[in-house]
């Protein structure tokens, strides 16, 4: 018996006819636990309860399936590489804690074989203590048969930073959630996302930056390309809660639409109950500039190849923000490999 779970809810909602208020996913009644090397159960699961982008129903489903949080062994000054290759249904809650003044560099590579039919849920919970930095890079590139949910929650203390870089390429249906609780003064959350969706692939996203503390800052930057019946919905919310005086939140999205068969939905909310804040959103959605294509074609690059170069550029816009050199090299190699495949 499958469970029908509501995820990625838009708060507050808007007109129902636009079909962006939430997404429903069907999951097995229970999911087996996934295993990541070097993890250990957290001492007190209650201490890791936090809001995430996908929302309460997913967390409740994981709890019902007995998926208790495990703490990953991430050490300061080292790159922690976590490879998740899905071969069957699996769900996992991975916790990372950066102690005061520490820096964690984490790279996750999510894959699955093309012929595997499975469902995967990965929930990542991050606590960034005072003056700490967490650099999380996720490359999400599963095969067509994996239905994947990637869900993140963070709590960011005084002067701490969480920098997220995500690359979405491949898979069929991917749902992604992210929520930052900017509870510390001068805290920072940044999301840089590169995405390519094609051949009927879907990506449903809900990203929330909740500013509780004074002078907290957040940024969401998305660059991507859609073609061949792909669908993407991006919900991005900057929420200024009363008391976050001096906070600053910005969202930017640039999406290339490469043919007439795609659906691109963008829902960038700014919610505000504090007077002294600065919030902004900018979006640019459309086809590639003809003069740019003309220039490339005049240099001997055919139109299809030129479009591939622009697709790749949309990933590189995000990748360029990867702080750790080792992680950067790893991700660039993946992008280069996929270029050769193309």
């Amino acid at each position: 018996m499958a469970d029908r779970i509501m995820i990625n809810s838009l708060v507050p909602p808007t007109w129902n006819r636009l079909k962006v208020n939430e997404t429903y996913v069907e999951l097995p009644a229970s999911m087996p636990r996934g295993k990541t090397e070097g993890t250990a159960p957290v001492a007190d699961a209650e201490e890791w309860k936090m809001e995430t982008g996908c929302g309460e129903e997913l967390s409740a489903y994981l709890a019902k399936s007995g998926i208790s949080p495990v703490k990953a062994d991430a050490r300061t000054g080292e790159l922690t590489l976590i490879k998740k290759d899905y071969r069957e249904d699996a769900a996992e809650v991975l916790c990372f804690e950066a102690g005061e003044g520490k820096t964690l560099n984490i790279l996750m590579d999510i894959t699955s074989d093309e012929d595997i039919k499975a469902a995967g849920i990965l929930q990542v919970l991050i606590k960034a203590e005072k003056d700490s930095v967490v650099n999380l890079t996720q490359v999400i590139r599963p095969g067509k048969g994996l239905e994947f949910i990637n869900d993140i929650g963070t709590v960011i203390s005084d002067k701490a930073q969480v920098n997220l870089v995500q690359i979405f390429k491949g898979g069929s249906n991917i749902n992604a959630g992210y929520r930052s609780g900017l509870t510390g003064e001068d805290s920072y959350a940044g999301c840089r996302i590169g995405l390519i969706r094609t051949d009927g692939e879907t990506l449903d996203m809900n990203y929330v930056m909740k500013h509780f503390a004074p002078r907290s800052k957040s940024e969401i930057n998305i660059s991507g390309a859609l073609s061949k019946k792909a669908q993407k919905t991006f919900r991005g919310t900057i929420d200024f809660v009363k008391g976050c005086a001096g906070a600053d939140g910005a969202e930017n999205e640039s999406v290339l639409i490469l043919d007439d068969t795609v659906i691109n939905k963008t829902v960038p909310l700014i919610l505000c109950t504090e007077e002294n804040v600065a919030g902004s959103h900018g979006a640019s959605i459309g086809k590639p500039a003809e003069d740019m294509l003309f220039y490339m074609m005049s240099r001997g690059i055919d139109r299809d190849k030129a479009l591939k170069i622009l697709e790749r550029a949309s990933l590189e816009a995000a990748v360029s923000h990867i702080a750790d050199p080792g992680a950067l090299e790893y991700v660039m190699n993946i992008i280069d490999e996929s270029r050769e495949d193309d």
Binding site: K265, T266, L271
Partner: protein, 469 residues
Amino acid sequence: MSEEKTIVDDINRSVYDVIDKEDNATRLEEGLNEDIIRRISEEKDDPDWMREFRLNCLKIYKELKVPQWGPGIDGLDMDHISTYVRPNTRMQTSWDDVPEDIKNTFERLGIPQAERASLAGVGAQYDSELVYHNVMKEVEEQGVVYTDFESALKGEYSDMVREHFMKLLVPTDHKFNALHGAVWSGGSFVYVPKGVKVSIPLQSYFRLNAKGAGQFEHTLIIVDEGADLHFIEGCSAPKYNVANLHSGCVELFVSKNARLRYSTIENWSKNMYNLNSKRAIVEENARMEWVSGSFGSHTSYLYPSTILKGDNSTMEYTGITFAGEGQNLDTGMKVMHVGKNTSSVVNTKSIAKSGGVSTTRTSVQVMPGAKGAKSVVSCESLMVDNISRSDTIPVMDIRTDDADIGHEASIGSIPDDAVFYLMSRGMTEEDARALIVSGFADNVSRELPMEYAAEMNNLIRLEMKGSIG
């Protein structure tokens, strides 16, 4: 002589809050049922098709749910709303024939004066019926039809009315369209023939005087090929301690090569639930312009929508919303690009003050095949204090590759340095902040005729009064 509204200096809300004694010829009991619908239909001497339409809308109304995505409307109890209140007069074409108290109310609001100074025609609705309607002879001679809706329903243009009535705003769209279809009363019908350019605006003004009543006027405007019209809508009501309801419908048909500008200054009292619907369909090479100022009401749902059906059709929306104490104003716009090479330009501003809640809600949809669509949306919000709330909820749904869509939104506060500068030039802090807010609203006031821009600035000053401390 009673107090009159003046252009700039008057910042006295009492102009809007004067209550006339209710001396109604007819006031139907509160609530909504088939008997009430039949009696409204009888009062208005509806043709058979309209009576059946009303009854069908009542069924739809009962089936549909109250929308859950917007501000709460729990304080609106239809069992305590009287849907039809006819004043003790029939429609007149001379102000001299309008009963003294009603005439005085409209004079205080400046309607006869505006008619003399700058309008080609005026319709004035009081509660559920028009009490005055007149159009300049020269405009009439151009073939322009501007009449009350009931006359249009039965006269020479009855087929045209039937062909268009609630075809854009269909009753099944949402519960309050269905309510409107069931109980509508009053409003205007405008037809501008092919090629006719109406050089000065027409205006309808809606005044709801009756306590605990609803106003459900219907406005239908058809601008034929190559024609041009500016239509202005104003509204106000005195404040009561019970809920009043406004649920009007505005349907606009803009034909090939035509242009229509629809301007609204909404200043309902702060016990009003303003659940209004407006939609325009724009044909080839035609242009729709919306200018909207929302200041009043307790709760508003107001999103003028535009269907850019024809190739090369365009739309421009300029709007401002000012939410003060006790107000929850959910406003914005919707546009759907269907034809090729269509374009929309949207510029919204919102101000939240003294605990008011302002939500700017927009949607831009570009349908498959709408090649060459261009849309630019800008939403700016100003938070005047930290007890208010300001939300921006835009949606873009793009389904073609050949589109150029831009969206920008920002939120901020009144800059301290600007207030300091103005105070250093001798202004009080209150005046300095009011001036800055008026400047913020400049995009709308520039689009309005001078008298209306002055009224809007007047309303801003009124709202900003007492904003310090």
